[in-house]
Amino acid sequence: MSPTRPLRAAALALALCLTPAVSSAQNDPGAGDRSMAFRPVTGAQERVPGGRLVVTAYAAVLLLLGGYVAFIARKASRLEDDVRRLEDDLARRAPGEQP
């Protein structure tokens, strides 16, 4: 099997995922106290200040994403080192030296 086949399959799955994730109807007439719609308001007085919560949430999101990108970058750099080391190890062994 071609090593890129799973990745192509993943791309297809990703495309299929794009539509239904957002849809999914939720028309429950007895929804009670759940929030069914977000309406814009102007000049509202906040009983509990939400600014700090928003900043904390977005900082956490960016921190987690940045951390994961840094983790991937470190993995990529380590992989390059491993490939280079393997090449060096093989180059060091001249054909005549094989046991």
Partner: protein, 245 residues
């Protein structure tokens, strides 16, 4: 062969840098739109903290994509036992856990204002936590696996664990709970500016998910190939076992 592997990884990284750049630009736009352009929602929805919604929901969506990739890779691995499928499953699980963590951190911060508490044992919250723990277990099991048996077990865990995903998705319909349900099939749950901001955010997260998934899977595949080649070189007598770094 060794040179080709390295070159492929480097070429992929260059191509992916462009995609990552576009994703980053869209992410910056989504951030600006969410924090500055989109209006503040009513107090019952959390007021200012409702703005968390624009990154919270797309993160949940990327979590589903990650789980989907992990399940696809796991099924492929169980069927064919190749490192490509295993790499895809590993990348998907990592992505699912990272984005589920974002959901589980940002959600309670929003809930603190909207519900008055950080955490409630609401069906959606509880099932999301359960799903996240299953994929954390998968990653722990996968990272400690030393042979095919453990990898097969991890793959089976991922496939069975994914059964919780429809439960997460439909939990608000099945058991009600407190979780908001504004994205309906008929639309109308969001003001137009809010809908546009959410759309840009979805686009940014989709591109970012595709980029991260591809790069991470390629790296995992590269790691597996290097390990296989080193083992092969040792078995052919081209390297000593002690040469293993």
């Amino acid at each position: 062969m060794f040179f080709r592997l390295g070159d492929t990884v480097r070429a992929t990284m260059r191509w992916m840098t462009v995609l990552a750049g576009v994703a980053f630009a869209l992410m910056a736009s989504a951030l600006f739109m969410a924090l500055d352009w989109a209006p503040v929602a009513q107090e019952a929805a959390g007021g200012l903290t409702q703005k968390i919604f624009y990154f919270h929901v797309p993160s949940a969506y990327v979590m589903y994509i990650g789980v989907g990739a992990c399940v696809l890779g796991s099924i492929g691995y169980l069927a064919q036992r190749t490192s490509g499928w295993d790499a895809l499953a590993q990348a998907g699980a990592e992505m699912a856990v990272v984005f589920a963590s974002i959901v589980l951190i940002s959600g309670p911060l929003w809930a603190r204002k909207a519900w008055g508490v950080y955490w409630a044992w609401d069906p959606r919250l509880t099932t999301t936590l359960l799903g996240t723990l299953i994929f954390v277990a998968y990653l722990v099991l996968h990272s400690t696996s030393q042979g095919e048996a453990e990898k097969k077990f991890a793959a089976a865990l991922a496939v069975m664990g994914a059964c919780v995903m429809p439960v997460i998705h439909f939990s608000v319909q099945l058991w009600r709970g407190q979780h908001p349900t504004v994205i309906t099939s008929r639309g109308g749950g969001l003001a137009p500016e809010m809908g546009k901001t959410l759309g840009v955010s979805f686009l940014a997260f989709t591109l970012m998910a595709a980029t991260l998934l591809y790069i991470r899977a390629r790296i995992a595949l590269g790691e597996a190939r290097v390990a296989e080649l080193r083992t092969e070189a040792v078995s052919l007598g081209l390297l000593d076992e002690g040469d293993d770094a």
